[in-house]
């Protein structure tokens, strides 16, 4: 187990492209941190810098207080699990898992005990004599994790480990990773572009965009109080609905509808009187039986919920997605009267969340 500290980390490539800007985080012992963001946001680069596979241009990387910024990967005592498993096809599962310890010339009996212990944790005992080609994607990924576990590293790094798996397998392997974290109590850093993985696995999420950290917080914090428009739009599925509104007196005036503000909302937006703000509403916070008419364009029944896509007006900015509880049978062209349960407000200039002064 280990504490990791990233201080003002920058990554600038030789062609002057900056991939990561001023990355700061203190990872506590046993914490599960998920780096999430769209492709090209710098999350994998950050992970590779931690592993030592990429040089750090500026800043400091500390592991248990020791500066490892310039240390080679082999001296960092970290194990990395890759998206493509990186298993040796000519070796059995047992040999793959034992390989790193064999290279270290550890006692074969000790290696045997460690491999069997890891295989038991990952439920791979019956697969130990098989070659990777005989295993399913999920099993291969477990072997890759087992190879990391036997090393007992200070830090586990996962680089999109579930991206090659189908949806069902991804869900079950995700649960296994979570159980593994609980069982080992190890410090883990996990990179993904899948927000569901981030929300279900993380103790804390680091949301990144364009090489910059947008928000660091618990899954609930990112969901409930997104720091800016990017986090609000990235976290949550289906994504949040946004509308441009003008604050005027007790009301919010939109292009297509008007909302009466609660006293709390009025207090929150008191500095924005006469100005425009962006209002965000999550689909699950759109409720039936309100005053805002939505013209239904499609109806998706998901069993427990129904996603209703529609428009509150004519323009492209009038699109809205509603997530109603239960089974609904709205037809294209129907009108649903909706209301908004919980709203988020963002400054139009900065894109940042508007908070109480």
């Amino acid at each position: 187990m280990a504490q990791l500290s990233l201080q003002h980390i920058d990554k600038i490539y030789d062609n002057k492209v900056q991939a990561v800007y001023d990355f700061n985080i203190d990872v506590k012992d046993g914490e599960f941190i998920v780096l999430v963001g769209p492709s090209g946001c710098g999350k994998s680069t950050t992970l590779r810098m931690i592993a030592g596979l990429e040089d750090i241009t500026n800043g400091k990387l500390l592991l248990d207080g020791k500066d490892i910024t310039a240390a080679p990967p082999k001296d960092r005592d970290m194990a990395m699990v890759f998206q493509n498993y990186a298993l040796y096809g000519h070796m059995t599962v047992y040999e793959n898992m034992a390989f790193s310890l064999t290279l270290r010339k550890e006692d074969p009996n000790v290696i045997h005990k460690k491999v069997l212990a890891a295989a038991k944790i990952l439920d791979l005992t019956s697969q130990l004599n098989k070659k990777p080609s005989q295993l399913s994607g999920g099993q291969r990924q477990r072997v890759a994790m087992g190879r990391s576990i036997v090393r007992s590293p200070k830090l586990f790094l996962f680089d999109e480990p579930l991206s090659n798996l189908d949806a069902k397998l991804r869900s079950s392997t995700r649960r296994e990773i979570l159980l593994l974290h609980k069982r080992l109590g190890a410090t883990m850093l996990y990179v993904t572009h899948d927000q569901t993985e981030a929300l279900t696995l993380a103790d804390r999420i680091v949301c990144m965009s364009m090489g910059r950290v947008q928000q660091i917080g618990t899954p609930l914090e990112l969901y409930d109080t997104p720091a800016n428009l990017f986090v609000a739009s990235f976290i949550g599925l289906p994504p949040m609905n946004f509308f441009q509104m003008e604050v005027g007196g007790d009301h919010l005036y939109g292009r297509y509808f008007t909302i009466t503000m609660t006293p709390e909302q009025k207090q929150l937006l008191e500095n924005y009187q006469g100005k425009h703000v962006t209002m965000g509403v999550r689909p699950e916070n759109v409720l039936e039986n309100g005053t805002v008419p939505v013209l239904v364009s499609s109806n998706e029944n998901l069993g427990m919920n129904t996603l209703v896509h529609g428009h509150v007006g004519e323009g492209a900015d009038s699109r809205i997605t509603c997530k109603f509880k239960g089974w609904c049978d709205y037809k294209k062209g129907d009108t649903v009267q909706v209301t908004f349960n919980k709203m988020h407000f963002f400054d139009q200039q900065t894109g940042n969340r508007i908070v109480k002064a």
Partner: protein
């Protein structure tokens, strides 16, 4: 192979773990010894074919010798692969092939050593002292490797079989 949890390993002594490792590790010692036997046999036949042509033993036995050497290498290779996977029957074949290597000492090198040739104009031994010794040494080494491979293979196969039986009894 039977699979068990780690219970049987927790308080196990070193020897027990060593045997338990065989469930997942190949018998590389036996396998490598069989490959070594092939190598020594290769040295052997490279050495004998250096002998002068036109002798009686060469014209009569060389064909058979080539065929036998090819067969030997193929069988020794199969022994190497079989013993790697703890197949005891291959170890028994290895004993037979090893013994045959010793028998060959009394056929080929001995006959060649006793025979004479006149290809260079004067009467000479077909296979002289140093070459004769070397050829015999290669056959001894090749045969020994096979017999050692077989001995280790039989021991390991027996140990593994007993271990698996005890594991299945426990479970």
């Amino acid at each position: 192979m039977s699979e068990n949890n780690l219970g049987h390993l927790e308080a196990a002594d070193e020897n027990y773990v060593k045997v338990d490792r065989m469930r997942y590790e190949k018998n590389k010692t036996s396998s490598n010894l069989a490959v070594l036997a092939i190598l020594f046999n290769a040295f052997f036949f490279v050495s004998i074919y250096k002998s002068d042509v036109g002798t009686w033993y060469y014209s009569i036995l060389v064909g058979a010798s080539i065929v036998y050497n090819l067969l030997f290498m193929m069988i020794a290779f199969l022994i190497s692969e079989g013993s790697k996977n703890y197949k005891i029957n291959y170890s028994y074949v290895a004993i037979v092939m090893g013994c045959l290597q010793f028998v060959r000492i009394f056929i080929y090198p001995r006959l060649a050593s006793a025979a004479t040739t006149q290809t260079t104009g004067k009467v000479e031994q077909v296979m002289k002292g140093a070459q004769h010794t070397r050829v015999i040494l290669y056959l001894i080494l090749s045969g020994s490797c096979l017999i050692l491979s077989a001995a280790i293979g039989i021991k390991k196969c027996t140990d593994l079989k007993k271990h698996l039986e005890s594991l299945s009894e426990q479970s």
